[in-house]
């Protein structure tokens, strides 16, 4: 008996240490090939199972939402309090409210026909300020279009915002794009483009370049829950994870992609549930809690730059405003829903916190409201008066140099204008009365037309 047992044990030991397939040894049905429980497929890290059952996502609880501050502005979990100093918190508040003021005025200006288009950030200010305040100023930002607060935090001026909306001579984007398509080289904010999610795999690539350059910087990529349905989002996540890119993917889940509610956008548990499928560290956060957003972004940044791996943050928030000036959201959602979120918005929550700290009061609130509105109106008035750039700007920056065929086309427009100027709104554009251009030999040639 002992010999038989000893023999069986020796066989078992042999079987567990040698990675070969085996047959059942012995007459006892309890003797099994232990190592056959581990699959040998490339990359496998799980076990065999002999029970047929499907993973059912509906059986799982949703990924929890991390928050620090409740809706009354009280720290619910003191250990998670980032203890941000007063100066920084006041800057957070001022930036969120200045953005809010600017949004209100610029939205109105579109309704009045002064600018062609606008998108507000109502309801999402904490996602911008919370995340931006946790990054280093040189971390590269790839945005979607509803992240103006990130620029505001970094120091983009009211003049710069409004000049871009007007596309005037002071627009750093040179009048090329629709309003809110901001960009800033100095502030490391890559210029916005309209196609959705295209920035996402680009962000992965930029992060890879930073990793190779060993410059200690990370990349943050903002996108909405709608854009996350695009193929580019899938490519972005997969590339970032497999190629070890130090990029933070920050999803603003605000409930709507224009008129498409999240119930028509995905079936699973939001965007966060996808992260682990790609092999990414993931967290879901209360996007309306500026301190929670700050905490997760700070931690995510640390993970990125220390371990060169991407992190997915899904910030739950709500788009209080319309998608854009081309949208009337009352057509697809109830007013009561909007009012509910507007009443309990991220700005109010931060203000409650500040008041409880003794850092803010009603007088300061009224004063600041007046001052911020005044600041916006001043920049607005200046921007409105400025002319647009010279029409020849439309031919530049297609390539680094102007190729001969474009030069010819530029010349043909100039010739056309010299004969038909009265048919075009040239008075709104800079230096239209004098057509200076560089001929193919490189010398400047001028043709002046005077108006009596």
């Amino acid at each position: 008996m002992a010999a038989k047992l000893g023999g069986a044990l020796r066989t078992l030991r042999y079987l567990t240490t040698r990675p070969v397939s085996c047959r059942l040894i012995g007459t006892s049905p309890s003797v099994r090939c232990v190592h056959e429980d581990r699959p040998q497929f490339p990359g496998s890290k799980s076990k065999f199972t002999y029970k047929l059952s499907f993973l059912d996502p509906d059986e799982e609880a949703g990924i929890p939402v991390y928050r620090v501050m409740n809706s009354e502005g009280e720290m619910t979990e003191k250990s998670e309090d980032p203890k941000i100093d007063k100066t920084t918190v006041l800057k957070m508040y001022r930036d969120m409210t200045l953005l809010n003021s600017m949004d209100k005025i610029l939205y109105e200006s579109q309704r009045q026909g002064r600018i062609s288009f606008y998108m507000t950030n109502f309801g999402e200010e904490a996602t911008h300020i919370g995340s931006a305040s946790a990054l280093h100023p040189e971390d590269m930002v790839f945005g979607q279009y509803r992240e103006a607060g990130v620029l505001m935090w970094r120091g983009f001026t009211l003049d710069q915002f409004i000049n871009q909306c007007y596309g005037n001579t002071e627009d750093v984007g040179k009048g090329r794009q629709m309003p809110v398509h901001y960009g800033s080289q100095d502030l490391h904010f890559v210029t916005i483009s309209s196609p959705l999610a295209t920035q996402m795999p680009q962000a992965s690539g930029a992060a890879y370049a930073f990793k190779r350059a060993q410059n200690g910087k990370c990349v943050i990529c903002y996108f909405g829950e709608g854009a996350a349905s695009e193929g580019d989002a899938h490519a972005a996540f997969n590339f970032a994870a497999t190629l070890d890119c130090p990029v933070i993917f920050f999803c603003r889940n605000n409930g709507y992609a224009i008129s498409t509610p999240t119930s028509d956008q995905y079936r699973g548990d939001g965007i966060a549930s996808r992260g682990s499928g790609y092999g990414m560290l993931t967290i879901r956060v209360d996007g309306n809690d500026v301190f929670a957003v700050h905490n997760v972004t700070k931690e995510a940044r640390e993970i990125c730059v220390s371990h060169n791996r991407p992190v997915l943050i899904e910030a739950m928030t709500y788009r209080i405003g319309h998608h854009s000036t081309s949208d009337d959201s009352s057509m697809y959602r109830k007013k009561g829903e909007v009012v509910k979120f507007d009443t309990n918005n991220p700005i109010g929550r931060l203000r409650s916190y500040m008041v409880k700290q003794g850092w803010w009061n009603d007088d300061q609130e009224n004063e600041w409201k007046e001052e911020s509105k005044k600041m916006v109106m001043e920049s607005f008035a200046k921007a409105e008066k400025r002319k647009k750039p010279n029409p020849t700007e439309l031919f530049k920056d297609v390539y680094e140099e102007i190729p001969p065929h474009l030069q010819k086309q530029m010349d043909s427009l100039k010739e056309h204008l010299s004969k038909n100027e009265d048919k075009y709104p040239t008075q709104n554009y800079e230096a239209c009365k004098e057509y200076m251009y560089q001929d193919l030999s490189g010398s400047m040639v001028g043709v002046t037309r005077s108006h009596s």
């Binding site: 590269m140 790839f142 627009d171 750093v172 984007g173 040179k174 009048g175 090329r176 794009q177 398509h181 960009g183 800033s184 080289q185 890559v190 210029t191 483009s193 196609p195 295209t198 996402m200 795999p201 680009q202 962000a203 992965s204 690539g205 930029a206 992060a207 890879y208 370049a209 930073f210 990793k211 190779r212 350059a213 990349v219 193929g231 580019d232 899938h234 490519a235 972005a236 997969n238 590339f239 497999t242 190629l243 530049k396 920056d397 297609v398 390539y399 680094e400 190729p403 001969p404 065929h405 474009l406």
Partner: protein, 277 residues
């Protein structure tokens, strides 16, 4: 290593990642396995890479990006291993499109593309990987972009092509000389966008007859752009209408390839039409 690496299988991801690398300051060379599969990346190339500098007011650019991809007929490639998609890309302001005709050209033109401060798409005729043998200097050298090359001078007919087709045209020129006593000027366009219309027009002013040939389909192939420009610039110099010898307006077939491609016999017939008009 981390300098040359595999990526997940996604052309839109590969090109977009390349754009990001370039924006992040790195020289990026993205490879698409076959030009036939470049289309998922068409949005990134058209809406992003090509417009990056323009839309940002020159604050940002992805000039450090080069995309290289094998193209063209290879004898048995059929629909999805034979395409020549250069015409789609010629319609995108902001990128450069380049096609070499052999090893020596490939090295010089590719290095120019890599160093060019604009995003470039470099199509490599795959049949020439094995089919062309040439002496290539090991030293560094570049060849200019947007400059066509007169590969063989002639007086009677201008033949324009790129990539593999240049060799077909050189063959046709030989036959035309022997059989028709016609001297043909063979021009390799080399860069499709921005293209060197001056060299083509200069040649047509001399010869008065133009034939453009390409494997890509006839309708809206790049020969259409060349023909439109040449008839506009050199109308009175033309002795006969411009001839285009191209692939038929079908997907690229498998067993019918010998009948599909614009071979030397079709080009020769084209020359006869030009001359006998």
């Amino acid at each position: 290593g981390d300098r040359v690496f595999n990526s997940p299988l996604s052309e839109q991801g590969i090109v977009a990642f390349g754009i990001g690398l370039a924006v992040g300051g790195a020289t990026a060379i993205a490879e698409i396995q076959f030009a036939d599969y470049i289309f998922p990346a068409f949005d990134q190339i058209t809406n992003e890479a090509a417009k990056f500098r323009y839309r940002s007011g020159n604050l940002f650019d992805c000039g450090k990006l080069t995309i290289r991809t094998p193209c063209g007929a290879v004898g048995h490639g059929a629909l999805y291993h034979s395409q020549s998609p250069e015409a789609f890309f010629a319609h995108i302001p902001g990128i450069k499109v380049v096609i070499p005709r052999g090893p020596y050209q490939a090295k010089g033109l590719l290095l120019s593309c890599i160093r060019d401060p604009n995003p470039c798409v470099f199509f490599e005729p795959k049949i020439l990987y094995r089919g062309a043998i040439e002496e290539v200097p090991t030293k560094d050298y570049t060849l200019p972009l947007s400059q066509a090359e007169v590969v063989q001078e002639g007086n009677d007919v201008t033949l324009v092509g790129w990539g593999t087709q240049v060799h077909v045209l050189l063959e046709v020129a030989k036959i035309a000389q022997e059989k028709l006593g016609m001297s043909c000027e063979v021009i390799d366009l080399r860069t499709i966008l921005p293209w060197d219309s001056d060299t083509i027009c200069k040649s047509v002013v001399k010869t008065g007859r133009l034939l453009v040939a390409h494997e890509a389909t006839h309708t809206m192939g790049f020969a259409a752009e060349i023909a439109a420009t040449v008839q506009s610039e050199c109308f009175l110099n033309l002795e006969s209408p411009i001839e285009r010898v191209c692939g038929y307006d079908t997907p690229f077939p498998h067993v019918f390839e010998p009948f599909y491609i614009p071979d030397q016999w079709k080009c020769l017939e084209g020359i006869k039409k030009l001359v006998n008009y």
